[in-house]
């Protein structure tokens, strides 16, 4: 059933691409219906899959001569991430309700991207996974280049090239694993059981991890993320931060760690306490957490704050993955969901609710606008999203980051200590953004005072309220009752860490 999420998204994209121009209202409704149908299927699939392990949805030979199968399957991790994708898609369409230029093309690219993302999360053939992974690159480019803002062409090209370089690295690993395994199969389960030589895994693991890690915002390959997020139109930045970065993290987990577990073994020698690829990537993740937070603290553009905060939060995901402990990886997967929701919310508030009304994202200008009083909905929403992002108990971020830190403590205590600093800085930059954008007590300079009184902002529309509430509900439900997802994640992670993907 879950496979239909992919098909209806692509079908929706095709319909929108072929439909006659000049009827934006219809395009919006179609896009919303498709996204909602995908979300409904994702929920149904999630509910139906409760308590089950990996369920194969379809498995037919695709390229018989090369042993490539069209294998779609879902385990606990996939179901959670498919759920996230459905949620982000619906919210994304709602927050793009005001797109009036080339509307049907916008939603066509949007749904094509969503279809590719669903596909990655459901593929259990490395080849198929790669195909969907690459399908997601092209729509991102056009979404940013056509409908974006600040330096959009530069940001779009940068994003496309970074993604393509990452996927080129993955392709090298894919070809090498296919040739080395010699079984002429690219099924994830077959490859995991192929007993790939340790010497091969030792180089394949870092190449695959970096290849996917580029898209997950792994420091120092993260630089596409802030520029891309800032330039993208709101729905695209929600998707970029919400699900596309998760594609990278998911690939790190499913492919790099799942297929090449011996690549994480100790090298047998160490340099300054770094004795394995695991230590290397943990160090990069910790640097990412702190660096992202520090840079976010220094931004003058509201959206850049959120962009860099994504790098910081994705650092937790990557750190959780390389802890290789049950609790740490559970936390990483939960953090993928949590950050997907919260980052989506933050980008929506900054990019849609605030920017579309004030037409500026500079703190210097926002400070003099009394936004706290003139846009109370935005202020309230940002307060809640901000505290969720800081990791306040009761919201999903808290449970996720706590688990990652616990896992990191079991692995190496200093990882926890160092990333703890990142959390503290996280509180600082969120607070600073909140204060500067909404609750500044700086009085407007005389020249900033409009002569005719403050103009009324456009009223908050129903799509904005609906989508905001939807995302709030998601982060609250998971924060208060995390088992709803963890019950599904835990067995899947356990199976994956045990090796062989059984």
């Amino acid at each position: 059933m879950l496979a239909w999420t992919i098909y209806i998204s692509f079908a929706g994209a095709l319909v929108l691409a072929l439909m006659p121009k000049g009827n934006p209202a219809l395009a919006r409704v179609i896009a919303l219906l498709v996204a909602a149908a995908g979300f409904a299927i994702a929920i149904a699939g999630f509910a139906a899959g409760a308590g089950q392990g990996r369920v194969t949805i379809i498995d037919v030979p695709w390229v018989p001569m090369m042993g490539i199968h069209y294998t779609l399957a879902a385990d606990g991790i996939s179901r959670v991430l498919v759920l996230l994708t459905g949620l982000a898609a619906v919210a994304g369409v709602l927050f793009s309700w005001n797109i009036n230029r080339r509307t049907n093309e916008f939603f066509a690219f949007f749904l094509a991207l969503i279809g590719g993302v669903y596909g990655v999360f459901l593929s259990f053939d490395l080849f198929l996974l790669f195909v969907f992974y690459e399908i997601a690159i092209v729509p991102k480019y056009f979404l940013i280049a056509i409908w974006g803002s600040t330096r959009r062409e530069y940001a779009a090209m940068k994003l496309a090239l970074y993604s393509f370089v990452g996927s080129a690295m993955v392709l090298v690993v894919l070809l090498a694993a296919y040739a080395t395994a010699g079984s002429h199969s690219t099924g994830l389960v077959n490859l995991a059981n192929a007993n790939l030589p340790v010497s091969f895994q030792m180089w394949a693991f870092p190449v695959a991890f970096i290849g996917f890690g580029i898209l997950a915002g792994l420091w120092p390959f993260h630089t596409w993320a802030p520029t891309g997020h800032v330039a993208a139109p709101t729905a695209a930045s929600m998707l970029l931060a919400g699900v596309v970065m998760k594609l990278g993290a998911y690939g790190c987990l499913r492919v790099a760690i799942g297929l090449f577990p011996h690549g994480l073994d100790p090298w047998g020698w160490s340099f300054w306490g770094i004795g394995s690829w695991r230590d290397v990537f943990a160090l990069l993740a910790v640097i990412g957490i702190i660096y992202g937070a520090l840079v976010a603290l220094a931004q003058t553009d509201f959206k850049f704050v959120i962009g860099y905060s994504s790098v910081s939060h994705m650092g937790f995901v990557l750190l959780g993955l390389v802890t290789l402990t049950q609790v740490g990886v559970d936390g990483a997967v939960l953090q993928m969901f949590s950050h997907g929701v919260i980052a989506g919310l933050l980008f929506a508030i900054v990019g849609r609710i605030v920017y579309e009304r004030t037409h500026t994202r500079q703190f210097g200008e926002l400070e003099g606008m009394y936004l706290g009083r003139r846009l109370p909905f935005a202020a309230w929403a940002f307060v809640i999203a901000g505290v969720a992002s800081m990791g306040l108990p009761g919201f999903s971020g808290f449970v996720a980051e706590l688990q990652v830190l616990m896992g990191a403590w079991i692995a190496k205590p200093w990882w926890t200590a160092a990333s703890g600093i990142g959390i503290v800085i996280g509180v600082a930059y969120t607070w600073r953004a909140l204060q500067k954008a909404f609750f500044s007590d700086r009085l407007p300079r005389p020249d900033e005072h409009p002569k005719e009184g403050w103009p009324k902002f456009e009223a908050i529309t129903w799509p904005e309220v609906t989508a905001t509430c939807l995302l709030f509900a998601a982060t609250l439900i998971v924060g208060i009752y995390p088992s709803i997802l963890l019950n599904s994640i835990e067995p899947a992670v356990k199976a994956l860490l045990a090796g062989g993907m059984q």
Binding site: V63, M66, E153, L161
Partner: protein, 516 residues
């Protein structure tokens, strides 16, 4: 040799030549007073019928091909890779002929179509030839046709200039090739590929003679020119830019298929002359003893080495040079050089079974199809805007949505984005290289190729950016005849379908090897 047998093997060539003569008779005789577009339609129709006839008579070719009298060695082969390449040549010729519809660069339509058909005959001969002399005659037949086609736009100075350059380079490379062939004949006393290979294995048991290296370098230079491999590529950008669009598409597709079919023929002959118990990579020389050739980068045999060097040079230089282009035709030329580089990797690592041959054919046929579509789209834009500069493509999505969609799919396929066919071709090709040899060198070469194809995305996106993102510089629709648009849409559909169902073409190709 029996002439009836020769006739039975060369049935497709005969069909094409008859069609060429019919075109001339019809166009120069009956349709002298008719309107240009009528003459084009009639000539194209006959050309298409000729190609179809050639395909229809292929099953009646003598099975296995034609041998020398009193010897089991082949003179002309049929079936297997030869038939695939020949069908490919014929199909691609049909598509290039359709590009002629609606164009007005020449009034001599009949001659154009006739020359195309005769050049295609040369391509068919090259694909079948197992004898150096037949190969050379086929190559010259093809090349002479290509020089004429390049110069066909008589009103355009660029066309004449590029044809002159192409002709001078081509003449020189043919001289190199013939020189290399003469050395091979001197070394082995035969002009038959199979006999040459066997003789080389026995005469070079103690290491290859320096003369062999000279001969192989000469031959590589000659064939490198045909496939536009660096450093023998200099003609390509000028020719692609100056030649009329159907001619350029013909050079980029049919001529490439024929040349790679020849390389496959050389590889197959070498592989099949070798004792199956011996390792595959030591080929053309029999340097299996310790006193043999030095080992270069883990694989031996001067041929592999030369081809691998050409491959790396082509894919690196082709991709980097394409980054700097402003003319879309030149961009396509440099991208063709890069694609030739990828394919040469599989030529360097050639397998005894038909994996490599099929991977190369899959790549070159689908690439040929894609590039014909790209040239068709570019020429439509050129006809309206009078230029093939990047800026001529500004805002094309608003001026002709279908054409913009065609360019999107074809260029992404060239860049190797799944699920389009270009991606499968690349994957298939690189997998074939790695299946032949799992050493460090092939891994490194494939890694370079994959990295370079990441570079290529940039310049393809530069064009697509102008098509979709930037606003149009001038208004007014870009129109093409319904037939042209239909053919382009058909090519695009094929690129998508073959990409989604890659097994289709592979199993089709496998049927040609049944019973061999």
């Amino acid at each position: 040799m029996n002439y009836a047998d020769l006739f039975r093997v060369t049935l497709p060539e005969t069909a094409l030549d008859i069609a060429a003569l019919l075109v001339l008779i019809l166009d120069l005789g009956l349709l002298r007073k008719a309107a240009l577009q009528t003459r084009i339609m009639a000539s194209v129709l006959i050309g298409v019928l000729g190609c179809s006839a050639a395909m229809l008579v292929m099953p009646y070719q003598a099975a296995g091909g034609l041998t020398y009298p009193g010897s089991p060695d082949l003179l002309l082969s049929a079936g297997g890779y030869t038939s695939i390449a020949q069908i490919g040549i014929l199909v691609l010729t049909v598509f290039t002929l359709f590009l002629l519809v609606g164009s007005d660069f020449t009034k001599h339509v009949g001659e154009f179509v006739a020359v195309v058909l005769m050049a295609a005959t040369g391509g068919l001969l090259i694909s079948a030839g197992q004898d150096l002399l037949v190969v050379f005659v086929g190559l010259e037949l093809l090349s002479l046709g290509l020089y004429i086609l390049t110069a066909f736009a008589k009103r355009s100075g660029k066309s004449a200039e590029s044809a002159m350059k192409y002709y001078l380079f081509g003449g020189m490379s043919a001289a190199f090739l013939l020189f290399g062939f003469s050395y091979l004949y001197g070394l082995t006393g035969s002009t038959n590929l199979h006999q040459i290979m066997r003789a080389l294995y026995s005469t070079t048991a103690n290491g290859a003679a320096p003369l062999l290296y000279v001969a192989l370098v000469m031959i590589a230079a000659g064939l490198g020119f045909k496939v536009a491999a660096v450093p023998f590529h200099l003609w390509a950008p000028d020719t692609y830019e100056g030649a009329p669009a159907p001619a350029a598409a013909f050079i980029a597709s049919v001529s490439k298929v024929a040349s790679f079919a020849l390389l496959i023929g050389v590889g197959t002959a070498a592989a099949h002359s070798l004792d199956p118990s011996k390792p595959m990579h030591v080929w053309i020389t029999a340097s299996l003893n310790p006193k043999g050739l030095p080992t270069y980068f883990g694989f031996s045999g001067p041929w592999s080495l030369i081809i691998a060097i050409l491959a790396v040079a082509s894919m690196v230089f082709g991709n980097l040079a394409a980054l700097a282009q402003d003319s879309v035709r030149r961009l396509l030329a440099y991208s063709a050089i890069a694609h030739a580089g990828y394919i040469l990797l599989a030529v360097a690592y050639f397998s005894r079974s038909n994996i490599s041959a099929n991977a190369i054919l899959y790549y070159i046929l689908t690439y040929g199809l894609t590039t014909i579509g790209a040239f068709g789209a570019v020429s439509l834009v050129e006809r309206i805007n009078g230029s093939d500069r990047m800026d001529a493509f500004l805002g094309l999505y608003r001026r002709n949505g279908v054409l913009a969609g065609v360019l999107l799919i074809l260029f992404l396929s060239l860049a190797g984005i799944p699920p389009l066919v270009g991606f499968w071709a690349k994957f298939n090709l690189f997998a074939a290289v790695l299946r032949v040899d799992r050493g460090v060198a092939p891994f490194a070469l494939v890694a370079i190729a994959v990295a370079m194809s990441a570079v290529s995305l940039y310049y393809y996106l530069q064009v697509l950016k102008r098509v979709f993102v930037m606003p149009p510089a001038e208004d007014g629709p870009v129109k093409g005849s319904p037939l042209t648009i239909g053919v382009l849409a058909l090519i695009t559909l094929a690129v998508v379908l073959l990409g989604c169902l890659p097994g289709l073409m592979q199993s089709w190709m496998a049927t040609f090897y049944a019973g061999m």
